[in-house]
């Protein structure tokens, strides 16, 4: 009773009521200042190789479990050898020194890598409490096991995840992500593959005088892949038996969510210039591709956009994960509203203002996070047109990123112009990952830049809103609780929803913490966690402005 009264007192003390104008979302670009010096090299040398356009994945992870989020960048390689012929092509791991400075620890971690890398997917696949790294690349995928001593070991061959397809051989993989599709408590691996590509057979496009990158329709598409975790450090390729590889696409970003509330994780793949896939989990080890029926395969007019990044998040707090997808100029970025109950999605791009506001943009990675902690998730897009497209458009290919503020789940307002001077700087942005690097409760963003210095957007939004981050620790479920959904009930009567996933955006991996902006509420009255195995756990009166660790209750 006493604690209840204290909680109520806190509620009323902190309840300022609605303000006339919301705090402006603001970022300070601090990469150089904090020692985050990385340049993504795509090795472009006037030959217009298709692989130069992609890549640039960024991942965030706490590899040494010190409570401070570290950063990993993927990098290119020489073409056509696809070898990292010098340190300029090395992938890079930067340790967060817990004082908002970073140290390059690539060499000691053993993560310089090999090949033309694309994406990084973070997950603790062996449930040992140390997050591991899976890298996709052009004809080379790599699984690094975190040894727990600051070093990583390449266990790709032993684990059986090098990605060789029986028909297509080694493929060009773009994104990957970890999910527990069969709820057995172990993370499985999904890989999106792009197109058949051979440097020796690169088609020539454009005009005789002016070569340009070919449209993806010039290349043959590829199937995606799914690997089942055997619980012993090895995986079984179940792409065929699960039905995943039956579908040929041109896979870019991947996102996972329990879209219809049945406790099973489904998979969305944003395809480039062909329709996107929604692999609905049937609960028996198989998936049914249902993008068309679910209304997420194409734009509202039936046009296949050049799908890039994707994120499943509940933008209107109705308890169902919605879906945002980025695309190319004149595609518009798409926002699909989940109707629930297995009824699929409605295209909300137009009615939320995103359609026209993003029509002139080309987006790569993205993330739907509550940057101002007002309880409504906003959207950050990493942007740039295809290199040299500017010549055709009469404007620069480099773009400034954009942030859209979620106005009570009804519309998205572009608030980029006031998001800080550093935010206005254009660049060839690609990957983006999201985490709170200084643990101040405001979500930051790290962005890779093609042939330019990476950027770290430190969130300096002057908001008095409260926040809460939940760090899940599965016992029966996978160690990170990926796939868990969390409902937070606030004293002001609102319910907020989010889910645990690292698979966010394009070729990138974000923090596994489940975050909530609480607005003026200094506590969460009730928190309900639905673990991937369907166990439900509740907490009450959880104070705000901290990371709350929750260990899965396992009832006998």
């Amino acid at each position: 009773m006493c604690s209840r009264l204290v909680a109520l007192a806190l509620v009323f003390a902190g309840f300022a009521g609605p303000t006339a104008s919301p705090p402006q979302i603001r970022f300070e670009e601090i990469a150089a200042k904090v020692g985050l010096r990385f340049e993504l090299r795509n090795a472009a040398a006037g030959q217009f190789h298709q692989i130069e356009l992609t890549g640039g994945g960024v991942a965030v992870l706490d590899y040494n479990n010190d409570g401070c989020t570290d950063i990993f960048f993927t990098n290119g390689a020489a073409i056509p050898s696809l070898r990292k012929t010098g340190p300029e092509y090395h992938n890079r791991l930067f340790r967060n020194n817990c004082d908002m400075t970073f140290t390059d620890v690539t060499e000691e971690a053993g993560l310089a890598g090999e090949g033309y890398s694309m994406a990084a997917a973070i997950g603790d696949f062996d449930n040992d409490g140390f997050t591991d790294i899976f890298l996709t690349g052009v004809k080379r995928n790599t699984l690094y096991r975190n040894l727990g001593n600051g070093r990583f070991a390449d266990i790709t061959a032993k684990a059986g995840v090098d990605g060789t397809d029986p028909k297509f051989g080694k493929m060009w993989s773009v994104s990957a992500g970890w999910l527990d599709y069969d709820n057995d408590g172990w993370l499985d691996l999904f890989i999106s593959n792009y197109v058949v590509w051979d440097p020796a057979k690169e088609p020539r496009c454009g005009t005789p005088e002016q070569q340009f990158y070919c449209h993806p329709n010039v290349y043959q598409g590829l199937p995606d892949q799914l690997f089942h975790n055997n619980h012993d450090g090895t995986f079984t390729d179940v792409s065929q038996s699960s039905g995943i590889s039956r579908h040929i696409g041109k896979g870019m970003g991947v996102a996972f969510a329990d879209v219809d509330g049945d406790g099973l994780i489904s998979i969305f793949v944003a395809n480039d210039s062909v329709r996107s896939f929604l692999f609905r989990n049937q609960g028996n080890g198989t998936f049914k591709e249902a993008g068309l029926e679910a209304g997420v395969a194409l734009r509202e007019d039936g046009y296949a956009i050049a799908g890039m990044g994707a994120d499943f998040r509940d933008f209107d707090n109705d308890g169902k994960p919605d879906l945002v997808v980025s695309g190319m100029i004149n595609d518009s970025f798409l926002l699909f509203h989940n109707l629930g109950g297995g009824h699929g999605f409605d295209d909300y791009s137009q009615r939320t203002g995103l359609l026209m506001a993003t029509r002139q943009l080309t987006g790569w990675s993205l993330g739907m996070y509550d940057f101002d902690n007002d309880g409504w998730k906003d959207i950050f897009f990493a942007l740039s047109h295809l290199v040299e497209l500017g010549r055709y458009m009469g404007r620069d290919s480099a773009l400034a990123n954009r942030v859209f503020r979620n106005v009570e789940g009804k519309r998205f307002d572009d608030v980029s112009a006031a998001a800080g001077a550093g935010f206005q700087q254009s660049g060839m942005h690609r990957g983006a990952a999201f985490a709170d690097f200084d643990n101040d409760g405001r979500i930051d963003a790290v962005v890779s830049v093609v042939n330019g210095p990476a950027k770290l957007f430190h969130n300096i939004t002057a908001s008095k809103s409260h926040w809460l981050a939940i760090k899940l620790q599965g016992r029966r479920s996978n160690r990170q609780g990926l796939g868990a959904t969390v409902r937070v009930h606030l004293p002001d009567g609102r319910d907020l929803y989010n889910q645990a996933t690292t698979s966010v955006g394009y070729a990138s991996s974000s923090e596994a913490l489940v975050r909530f902006g609480l607005g003026p509420n200094p506590l969460a009255e009730k928190i309900e966690i639905r673990w991937p195995g369907r166990g439900v756990q509740q907490l009450t009166n959880v104070p705000a402005d901290r990371i709350t660790e929750v260990i899965e209750e396992v009832k006998p």
Binding site: L292, E293, L298, G302, N330, L355, M393
Partner: protein, 263 residues
């Protein structure tokens, strides 16, 4: 009568290349492109400065995606006669079709200066403007294109559709409906118009009528809207209309079409 035919009539018949050019044009209309190209080459051998022949050569080249050849021919034509309005319009089309929107804008603007009553130039300048994000300017150009066609006594449904599409995107549903009704009146059997009407109806929440219009669009041929676009609309329309079975049939048809393409 197309602008090209008008140019043909206006061309100087005294040119030694003119008969060959006339033959080339007839073959082009009959879609005998190889034969037409040979005749054009003959016409230009006899008179390298025959502007209509250079213009037709560009048109032929664009039909087979040889935009480099088209550009060269049009530059020659415009160097000989800078007031050649159709050559100027095609020069804009060359940029438009190769996604060079900045050049397309300049060239279509010039085409409009050369012939302010050319509805095509207004329409394509509108499309270019829209692709650059200038929606209000695009809308007024679409209106202008419609007005010019009406003034010439030849209004076309196809000219109304870009404006209707843009109005739909902007959420101006009542205006969109007016444009679509005009288009339906002009061409009751145009697939694209029925498709746009179905989209509008679906957005307005009339799934039953949307399904009806969509099915009608599917039965009609021609136009630029693909079968896949219509099937996708029908999946959603039938779902909202309480007929998941009909929706599933359309989804399966799309998958069958995809499989055929992949093979």
């Amino acid at each position: 009568m197309t602008p090209l035919v008008l140019i043909l009539l206006a061309a100087a018949p005294t040119s030694p290349g003119y008969p060959a050019y006339q033959k080339a044009n007839t073959l082009f209309v009959e879609q005998k492109f190889n034969e037409s190209f040979a005749a054009i080459e003959e016409a230009l051998r006899l008179d390298p400065k025959l502007v209509p022949a250079l213009t037709l050569k560009a048109k032929l080249a664009m039909a087979v995606n040889r935009f480099d050849v088209a550009r060269q021919s049009l530059l020659q034509a415009l160097a000989i006669d800078p007031t050649a309005e159709y050559a100027q319009f095609l020069y804009g089309m060359e940029a438009f079709l190769t996604n060079d929107t900045e050049q397309a804008m300049l060239r279509f603007r010039k085409a409009r200066q050369l012939n302010p009553s050319d509805a095509h130039a207004a329409l394509y300048l509108g499309l270019t403007t829209e692709s650059l994000g200038q929606t209000e300017e695009a809308l007024s150009l679409y209106q202008e294109a419609v007005r010019l066609e009406q003034a010439a006594g030849k209004p076309k449904a196809e000219t109304l559709l870009p404006g209707a599409r843009l109005l739909l995107l902007l959420g101006r549903l009542d205006e969109c409906e007016r444009w679509i009704h005009q288009a339906l009146k002009l061409s009751p059997n145009l697939r694209d118009t029925h498709f746009e009407f179905a989209r509008l109806l679906l957005q307005k929440g009339d799934a039953a009528k949307a399904a009806e219009e969509g099915e009608m669009a599917l039965r009609l041929s021609g136009g630029t809207v693909t079968d896949v676009q219509i099937h996708y609309l029908l999946i959603r329309a039938w779902q909202k209309n309480g007929s998941p079975k009909r929706a599933a049939e359309h989804a399966e048809t799309v998958r069958a079409l995809e499989t055929a393409v992949q093979k």
